[in-house]
């Protein structure tokens, strides 16, 4: 071992001691996640407040961890939750089973379920690891009505909105 090389190494480590630390003081300072980060799921709404989810359970079928449970019920024009025939009356995700792969997002025909950026999930028992629909659905946007809505007949017959190709 060359003593000069040891001195050079010591100089290197001493220099790095005066660099600003790279540590984020986590609970106080949060590092922003990447744009495409796959965190906790959210169930989206249309601008008028209707839920995007139509209860088709394709997400549950696509889920490799079998973490999603969907139960559908019928919409009527008097009591309307989402466009089309059906809506999800029960929507549960077991956050202990979920592997955050995002397949549900890919499977969704209406872009209702999106993996958003929240990664701070904690629970003290298994029961509370199951997030019900009330926790997953986003609040009603401004100008929208809360569900269930009473809508004029024949206005929301299509389950799947007309989608455009990404520009």
């Amino acid at each position: 071992m060359n003593p000069l090389e040891i001195l050079r190494g010591l100089w290197t480590t001493l220099k790095s001691a005066f660099e600003p630390p790279v540590t984020y003081q986590y609970p106080e300072i949060k590092r922003p996640v990447r744009e495409r980060f796959k965190g906790r799921h959210e169930l989206k709404r249309y601008d008028n407040g209707l839920e995007k989810c139509i209860g088709c359970a394709l997400c549950a079928a696509a889920c490799p961890a079998d973490a999603i449970f969907v139960e559908a019920a019928e919409n009527t024009d008097e009591v309307r939750f989402s466009p089309g025939e059906r809506y999800a009356s029960t929507y549960e995700i077991n956050m202990l089973r979920c592997i955050y792969c995002g397949y549900c997002e890919d499977a969704c025909p209406t872009e209702a379920i999106v993996l958003e950026q929240n990664y701070e999930m904690s629970f003290t028992d298994r029961r509370s690891a199951i997030y019900p629909k009330e926790m997953l659905i986003v609040p009603v946007p401004e100008g929208g009505q809360p569900t269930p809505q009473k809508v004029p007949p024949g206005m929301f017959d299509k389950s799947i909105p007309i989608m455009e190709n990404p520009k």
Partner: protein, 335 residues
């Protein structure tokens, strides 16, 4: 022997114990903070202001850890080993003067339990060697091959480097013409021995790192090869005792290095204001401890055979030549 003398000794002993025990706790904090800064991190800063209560939290956690004794372990030796390891670290400071003599109520007191003992250096070497027994016994009593390997390695390493360590302290002994640490320190009033004995200090520093089993010579506890070496089966307070022994010995060798080579408590104005003595000593000790932590942050672990080769083929001959040259120069120039 009067009662006053007994009380004086008792107080001094408690202070020396406290230096090692409290020093051990805060040395871990110091090391973690310095290592973190060198690795461009922050280090523990959550428990208490600036993380100053972190050692307390660690201590409480270790006390509540489960004390596990392996079924095939030799129970008596298994419990005895950490005690044997930690004792030398606690008593080694007895011969180191912490400052110049102070006068209270018209009576002069020396800052040090037995710093005027005329074989002080010998005492240090003798006591420091006892710790290896604890480590070997720990390795053997654990009935675990990793622990046994660690114990064997550490005995080989400590025996090899003790030679160089012993030879390196001959320099100050020759210069002061005494084995009493008091005499060695007061002889450094004008010039620190590190100036006269630069090679000696270097050898002392390297050998003492090997002696306290610290990186880059932490062969006995090489994580990658031996999981944790001799203390792999220890948990709870027994593990804490090994930990304390390692850090206590670090503090002890830093004190000894500062005393033998860096002038001990000597410094400017120490004759006028004697209270500066302990502060100077503390700064010097902190400097040596920083060097140790800095080295740990820089160098990877030596390979075992290279460690032995370095000890026997380089360090020992250099130390011998150093002693020879020092002795000849003292005879020629009259000391």
């Amino acid at each position: 022997m009067t009662l006053a003398l007994l009380i004086e000794w008792a107080i001094k002993s408690v202070v020396i114990f406290l230096i090692i025990v409290a020093g051990f706790a805060y040395l871990t904090y110091f090391e973690r903070r310095v290592l973190a800064r060198i690795q461009v991190r922050i280090g523990p800063n959550r428990a208490g202001p600036w993380g100053l209560l972190q050692p307390v939290a660690d201590g409480i956690k270790l006390i509540f850890n489960e004390e596990l004794i392996p079924a095939k372990a030799d129970r008596v030796l298994f419990i005895l080993a950490p005690v044997i390891t930690v004792l030398p670290a606690l008593i080694i400071l007895a011969v180191v003067p912490l400052g110049p003599n102070l006068t209270f109520f018209g009576k002069e007191y020396s800052l040090g339990l037995a710093s005027n003992v005329n074989v002080g250096v010998l005492y240090i070497l003798a006591v420091a060697s006892i710790a290896v027994y604890g480590i070997v016994i720990a390795g053997w009593a654990s009935a675990n091959k990793y622990a046994l390997m660690g114990g064997i390695r550490s005995s080989a390493q400590m025996v090899s480097y003790e030679l160089a360590l012993g030879l390196s302290v001959i320099g100050p002994i020759l210069l002061a013409n005494s084995m009493s640490i008091d005499a060695i320190v007061s002889d450094q009033r004008g010039l620190w021995y590190i100036v006269l004995q630069p090679v000696g200090f270097l050898i002392f520093f390297i050998a003492s790192i090997a002696e306290v089993n610290r990186s880059p010579f932490d062969m006995p506890e090489a994580e990658q090869e031996l999981t944790a070496g001799y203390h792999v089966e220890y948990s709870g307070m027994k593990f804490a005792l090994f930990f304390m022994a390692e850090y206590g010995k670090m503090i002890a060798v830093a004190f000894i290095g500062a005393t033998l080579f860096l002038g001990g408590y000597q410094g400017p104005f120490v004759e006028v204001v004697p209270w500066l003595g302990p502060i100077y000593l503390f700064i010097k000790v902190l400097f040596i401890l920083f060097l140790m932590v800095w080295l740990r942050a820089t160098l990877p672990r030596f390979r075992y055979d290279r460690l032995m080769a370095f000890g026997w083929k380089i360090l020992l001959p250099v130390a011998l030549i150093n002693v020879l040259v020092t002795a000849v120069l003292i005879v020629v120039f009259g000391g």
